[in-house]
Amino acid sequence: MSLSVNNLSCQRGGRTIFSELSLEIAAGEAVLLRGPNGAGKSTLLRVIAGLIPAQTGEITLNGTAFSNRDDFHGQITYAGHLDAIKPQLTVAENLQFWAQLFEAKNLAQTMQDFRLDEIADRPAHACSAGQKRRLGLARIAVTARPLWLLDEPTVSLDTETTARFAATIDAHCAAGGIAFIATHIDLGLKAPRSFEMQAYEPKADAPEHDPFLKGDWE
């Protein structure tokens, strides 16, 4: 199990988000993705998850190339800023759906781990922000995939749940998985490594590529 990103560049709306980015993550590693707001942390995670296209570069996961979409993304689970929760369904129904879709078997255990069994029958719209977040993170644990891409996972979590979640990530990594986490706080993981991202600054001798100015359309 390893994630390798090589020479990755991403542009959104004509603006370069990051350029020539490379990193390697080995099995069992938890990597904290750090950087100022707007540095492109969320974009990087979404590019790896295949939700935003990259302009150049290669991503290889466990020997599987990014272009092999089914096999590549079959190893990934992603949690963004949104929790993917339906407010009309109860907590248990929400999680059960994801467990069935991802063919997971550890539903009851995950409900306990994230202390969701006590609010299982509550409609999700009646849950607090922290409880919703817990439900969103429980989905990560239930899908049981080797690469976890987490974007600010601890927003609105209390300290106890954050510690529990850190323990879940540690257990995942100890089992040979990878966690790639964009965060600003110290999660309290056992052996995290940091990867710094800087806000992209165009080099003076390499002006940003703009097809409308360069005459590419002629």
């Binding site: 998850a49 295949g50 939700l51 935003i52 296209p53 993304h73 079959g74 990934i76 689970t77 992603y78 963004g80 800023h81 949104l82 929790d83 993917a84 929760i85 339906k86 009309q88 369904l89 129904e93 059960q96 759906f97 994801w98 069935q100 879709l101 991802f102 063919e103 989905r139």
Partner: protein, 218 residues
């Protein structure tokens, strides 16, 4: 797959799901016609097949704009894109669930409304048959339209403009089958053409819609 279908039905039937909305709209639109046209039973009987079909067509359009939009807004679509289920299958299941909650009630309700419009005796069976075979096409073509407009805020009107022209063939042959039966003629050929259109829509629109969703996700 079953899990997704059950979830879709639950969401449609719970508050804010809008399952009853289409049916209510259908009832009101058809009931308005005698007020506008006048109580002449012969005229009403003549225009009944067309009115019932147009009513059903507009009613099935009502809840379409939310088909993918809610999933896109709460992050569910991102996770579904990473799930083992292909997007084509996702579209097909969602369109089928839309038909179950919107199209099927219209089929069941139509004969009652046919009675209020003085639809001739021989036409009831063919009204139900043509609606039962034609409304799935409305849901599936509409799903493709909903996928194209998923990123557009308040895209309901744009969806109508995109989708209504594509409904025309189904409307022509569906209404024709019913009115031929009302005149005591053989409606089989019109019915078969319309059923063929439905099969065509079911076979092709999931691919078109999945393509549109992928473009939206990128």
């Amino acid at each position: 797959m079953i899990a997704l279908l059950i979830r879709e039905l639950r969401l449609a039937l719970r508050s804010g799901g809008g399952a009853g909305l289409g049916l209510g709209f259908f009832l009101i639109v058809v009931m308005l016609v005698p007020f506008g046209v006048g109580p002449n039973q012969q005229i009403l009987g003549q225009i009944a097949p067309g009115i019932l079909w147009i009513g059903a067509l507009l009613a099935s359009l009502l809840s379409l704009d939310r088909l993918f939009q809610t999933d896109s807004e709460d992050g569910t679509l991102d996770i579904l894109a990473l799930s083992p289920m292909p997007l084509e299958q996702l579209v097909a299941v969602k369109a089928f669930a839309h038909w179950l909650t919107t199209g099927l009630p219209l089929v069941i309700m139509a004969p009652v409304l046919g009675l209020t419009l003085n639809l001739p005796d021989g036409a009831y069976l063919w009204l139900v048959a043509s609606l039962a075979a034609g409304t799935p096409a409305l849901s599936f073509i509409g799903a493709a339209g909903a996928a194209i407009t998923v990123g557009v805020k308040r895209g309901g009107l744009l969806l109508s403009l995109l989708v209504l022209p594509l409904y025309i063939p189904t409307l022509i042959f569906g209404a024709k089958a019913t009115s031929l039966a009302a005149d005591g003629l053989d409606p089989t050929s019109a019915f078969i053409l319309m059923a063929g259109l439905t099969l065509f829509a079911i076979a092709l629109t999931p691919f078109a819609a999945a393509k549109a969703l992928r473009t939206h996700l990128n």
